[in-house]
Symmetry: C2
Amino acid sequence: MGAPDDIWPAPGTPLAEVMTPMPVIDEGRMAANIARAQAHMDGLGRAFRPHIKTHKLPEVARAQLAAGAVGLNCQKVTEAEVFADAGFDDILITYNVLGPVRLARLAALNARVARLAVTADGEAVVAGLAARFAADRPLTVLVECDTGGGRCGVQTPEAAAGLAARIAAAPGLRFGGLMTYPAPGGAAAVEAFVTAAQALMAAAGLGCPVVTVGGTPDFFAAGAVPSATEHRAGTYVYNDRSMIRAGHATEADCAMHLLATVVSRPTPDRAVIDAGSKALTSDLLGFADHGLVVGYPGARITALSEEHGVVDLSAVEGARPEVGEMVRVIPNHTCVITNLYERMVFHDGARVTRVLPVAARGTVW
Amino acid sequence: MGAPDDIWPAPGTPLAEVMTPMPVIDEGRMAANIARAQAHMDGLGRAFRPHIKTHKLPEVARAQLAAGAVGLNCQKVTEAEVFADAGFDDILITYNVLGPVRLARLAALNARVARLAVTADGEAVVAGLAARFAADRPLTVLVECDTGGGRCGVQTPEAAAGLAARIAAAPGLRFGGLMTYPAPGGAAAVEAFVTAAQALMAAAGLGCPVVTVGGTPDFFAAGAVPSATEHRAGTYVYNDRSMIRAGHATEADCAMHLLATVVSRPTPDRAVIDAGSKALTSDLLGFADHGLVVGYPGARITALSEEHGVVDLSAVEGARPEVGEMVRVIPNHTCVITNLYERMVFHDGARVTRVLPVAARGTVW
């Protein structure tokens, strides 16, 4: 019982025969995205740590490391477990790890991953870590700083320096540096926060080995944070509509397309495709509609129900897609689509090359 | 390799010890939702056909049939395959089934499911079905009507009657009736469309055995469409915030809660929980924020990133949730959450009762 195994295409299947809705990854575009990003970070002399959230695939992570990345960024303990099982030995979990179950599993990971680190942004989190880890196998902890992103993180350089001292003083913890996930365009705020915190830490005799900054949108502006030693990014590997808007990518850099079929043309101005919120997700990321329909620039995916996408064709000039036609959608946000599918289909532009189990899909905490 | 199996709680685990983020289903509330809905349809003398999209679980579908439902509603051929494998023998797939691969699998299903039916809304779809099915094992086909929902469906009663005649004339097809997924509050439009189409069909000597109407929001107003013979609904089984807004349910009828943990309190007015768009989805369904935080009526989940939910506490009176505290979220939309998880955790209010594989999750087309 369960979803049938034979719903996935075999390698060699022509792309035109892949069943829809299905996300597919262009091998050449992905390889070019990996190479271009690594070359940029190499040019800056900055370490690059890809975030696995976008692909959740050890095979892709291996390609990222082969290109020169220093290690991986995960968001959950269970994700890190999957990548540790696959042999990766340098993993940063950018998350507050809380509670006895997660801490026990984090300790087990720390015993087998050569270079493991987590982040923390407050006393409650550090206290939990300090009580769990001991000097014989210490854990590296970075302080997360809120430099304008408005999510987690200490709010001031003073708080960062104070928490760093608290970590450094715990026998089972090592202070690993500063981490932030900035607001887009937030380079100046990051630099000001980090340099102020570093000055306070230096005055207290505390070194700051790593400053790790994140995000794909500002990837090619990473040089605007000279204090950073490392950059983390995930989306760049596939790219998506939000990365086109950010100026990070062009349509031709988008490696993930969602293949969909036109299942109805109820009116001259309306098409319905078989990709709804269970195929594309509802992530708008500030857009008013649900993705770009490749080759039909006037088409707008105006509404999603679970298994239907409603496409407004009123602004499409020339031919309009017919019932049964396969269309390609560049999604607003690629990372959340990865999370929906058991397997990911890769292709060379004409045929399916690989169908990989999304190894870290389904991890819960 | 892959997501570890031991991340799921065992039956008997206290609910307070379930790891987060995790959706959990209250057995008693679900049973009450099933009983209340069936009693309403029984009172109307109307057949009830639950939609499996909300739970994707044969075990829950069995409870729905045990209460008196006539059969199941699926949206995909592969979903129907999962439920046929589980022994269900009356399945309506409310979708245009297109292309040789899907049609071949539909034919295989039709050979083993006692009562299988699909819908169609245009000549291209009916032509494909008519070419695939033969008189020795005919397929039942209903005409989908757009009565204001603005998705699929023929646009006029005349088109409905014409397509019904086309189906009835095909040797391998049987005309099964009319289907619509109405706009909320669209009862009058449905009744006008259906009765007009029925008059045209009757004049042509064509009977209309079934009129199947759908949706949870107008479930308790189903009597306003007297021409309907059958109602389809999915969300009622769990209920969610959108069903509270629709007047269909109260907070106490919501069987699915998303358990989350407060992982950060960066400022007095901000909490961050470990439920982001990969746990809750981004379905807004017209809301401005991402779910109700049970017990904290002023709290607003204002932003989701993939593994974080940012909660604005500024309007919370009294105590505010602390780091490490478990909170419960009533999601905007329950059906899309089902689609994210490999297993679904059930409980009796205090302890985990069952952990079921989401059998029809991961079906693609």
